[in-house]
């Protein structure tokens, strides 16, 4: 998306209900700024995120997708994020194998107490994706306006 001649990436952030979403809340409460490019989707657990969700996000025009969950060992459901870690390791490696820039996908562990980390992660990620430019390799032209 171009706004005032400047590229503004669309970022989709999947945040788990128990840690990362609360972390985002804390960032807000603490008046920590993070880019409005980030659209948060709340999920019960990072493990809820099916690989298809990530691809779907790209299809519908996301330029970068980030997945945030509880730190390994702190999952509200004991082990959800361990499964996430394996799945996303394989999925991201596969996306890169198909030539999708590896900077467009990311997993970050953000606890409910880490509002600052949330804001910093989103700032860094948005900047990295903005530098890559528009997502051309996993786009669906039918979904473009």
């Amino acid at each position: 998306m171009q706004i005032n001649g400047e590229f503004q990436p669309k970022i989709v952030a999947f945040c788990c209900n128990w840690c990362s979403y609360a972390g985002a809340d804390l960032a807000g409460n603490n008046r920590l700024a993070y880019p409005e490019n980030v659209k948060i989707i709340k999920v019960p657990c990072s493990c809820r995120v099916n690989p298809m969700f990530i691809l779907r996000a790209f299809q519908r025009g996301a330029d970068g997708v980030i997945l945030c969950g509880c730190h390994p060992g702190d999952c509200h459901y004991t082990s959800g994020n361990y499964y996430t870690r394996r799945r996303m390791a394989l999925l991201f490696s596969m996306l890169n194998y198909l030539g999708i820039e590896k900077e467009r996908t990311r997993v970050e562990w953000v606890s409910a107490a880490e509002g600052a980390k949330f804001a910093q992660t989103m700032n860094e990620f948005t900047e990295a994706v903005a530098a890559l430019g528009e997502n051309k390799r996993l786009e669906d032209l039918r979904c473009k306006k």
Binding site: P51, M52, L55, R56, Q59, P72, G73, S79, Y82, Y83, R85, R86, R87, M88, A89, L90, L91, F92, S93, M94, L95, N96, Y97, L98, G99, I100, E101, K102, T105, R106, V107, R137, L138, E139, D140, L141, R142
Partner: protein, 332 residues
């Protein structure tokens, strides 16, 4: 040239059918052409004697057929399994997809199957007959004299890098059992990994854009056994084929490969049936290679009852960001 002859298999099938061990036989019969041998179900000795074939084009993996076959009746079905098929057989047993008691599995040695694309490239079109003679295939065509090509030259890619001649599951074995082979099946994957992102993207764009979404790779895959498939959902946005290089193929092939990650035995059926000759096994092998390097060596189906890597975890697993770096050697 296969070491075990068609006659041996026919004799075995007739014997088991006549003594009542089994009441039907999964085997191969000729299709429209001599080279498109097709899977078939035989129920009488006469049918077996007249139609059963076994030659260098019997690539079909019967493991998946057992799911439906074992549901039909209470009696046993005879199935012939090549070494690579036994891995799929084990994997399906692990997932409780069929009743082992209803199957009589006969292991047959395999010298590698021929790839018809390579045969046609060597002998030309209009093939009317193919005969195995020693180490050669003698091919008769409409337009030319008979031509002999070495079996080794027309071997299917998956057989060139065969991972095992050892049967991991059977009730009875015809001929001798082989060994697990330390093959270089990841060479092609490594070659791709060594490319830059742009080159890889161009490579896959070129390959996947040929996809006609026929779903043959899904239907044949012995690991793809869901009764309700995500791709059959008209809302899945992968059911149609809108333009030549659209999003759907990438979505479809990533998800297809992901859904069998950790369970794929690398039998190579997906690439064999692809009418567009897309090297689909390279996607599956990438997952296998990554799983091996991230979580330790794992061969799906080698052991019935083993736990697939994606339904398991350790607290010390590699982080996705590091995994991407480790998975791509150009960034190492």
């Amino acid at each position: 040239m296969q070491k075990v002859t068609c006659d041996t298999l026919v004799a075995k099938a007739c014997e088991l059918l006549e003594n009542g061990t089994v009441d039907r036989v999964l085997g191969w019969k000729n299709g429209e052409f001599v080279y498109d041998v097709t899977p078939a179900l035989f129920t009488t000795v006469d049918d077996i004697k007249s139609e059963f074939v076994f030659n260098d084009f019997c690539g079909a993996n019967f493991s998946k057929y057992l799911i439906e076959e074992t549901r039909k009746t209470e009696s046993k079905v005879l199935v012939f399994l090549k070494p690579c098929d036994t891995y799929s057989f084990n994997q399906l047993l692990t997932e409780h997809r069929f009743d082992r008691e209803k199957v009589y599995a006969v292991g047959i040695p395999c010298e590698g199957m021929a790839d018809i694309t390579k045969v046609k490239a060597a002998a030309g079109d209009g093939i009317t007959a193919i005969k195995a003679e020693g180490e050669n295939l003698v091919i008769s065509t409409l337009y030319d004299d008979d031509k002999a090509v070495a079996c080794a030259d027309v071997l299917a890619e998956r057989c060139v890098v065969c991972k095992s001649k050892k049967h991991v599951a059977y009730d009875e074995l015809l001929g001798e059992d082989g060994d697990v082979i330390d093959s270089n099946r990841f060479d092609e994957v490594e070659k791709l990994e060594a490319m830059t992102e742009d080159e890889r993207f161009a490579f896959w764009q070129n390959e996947l854009s040929r996809c006609i979404r026929c779903n043959a790779c899904r239907d044949v895959c012995p690991a793809c056994t869901c009764e309700k498939c995500v791709f059959d959902n008209p809302e899945s946005s992968v059911v149609n084929k809108a333009i030549s290089d659209s999003f759907e193929e990438k979505m479809f092939h990533i998800i297809r490969a992901f859904h069998v990650a950790g369970r794929c035995t690398d039998c190579g059926e997906c690439s064999r049936v692809c009418p567009q000759n897309i090297p689909l096994h390279l996607l599956n092998r990438k997952f296998i290679k990554d799983i091996n390097s991230f979580y330790g060596e794992y061969q799906a189906g080698a052991e019935a009852g083993s736990r697939a890597p994606l339904v398991d975890y350790t607290t010390e697993d590699i982080e996705p960001t590091d995994a991407v770096l480790k998975g791509a050697s150009d960034n190492a």
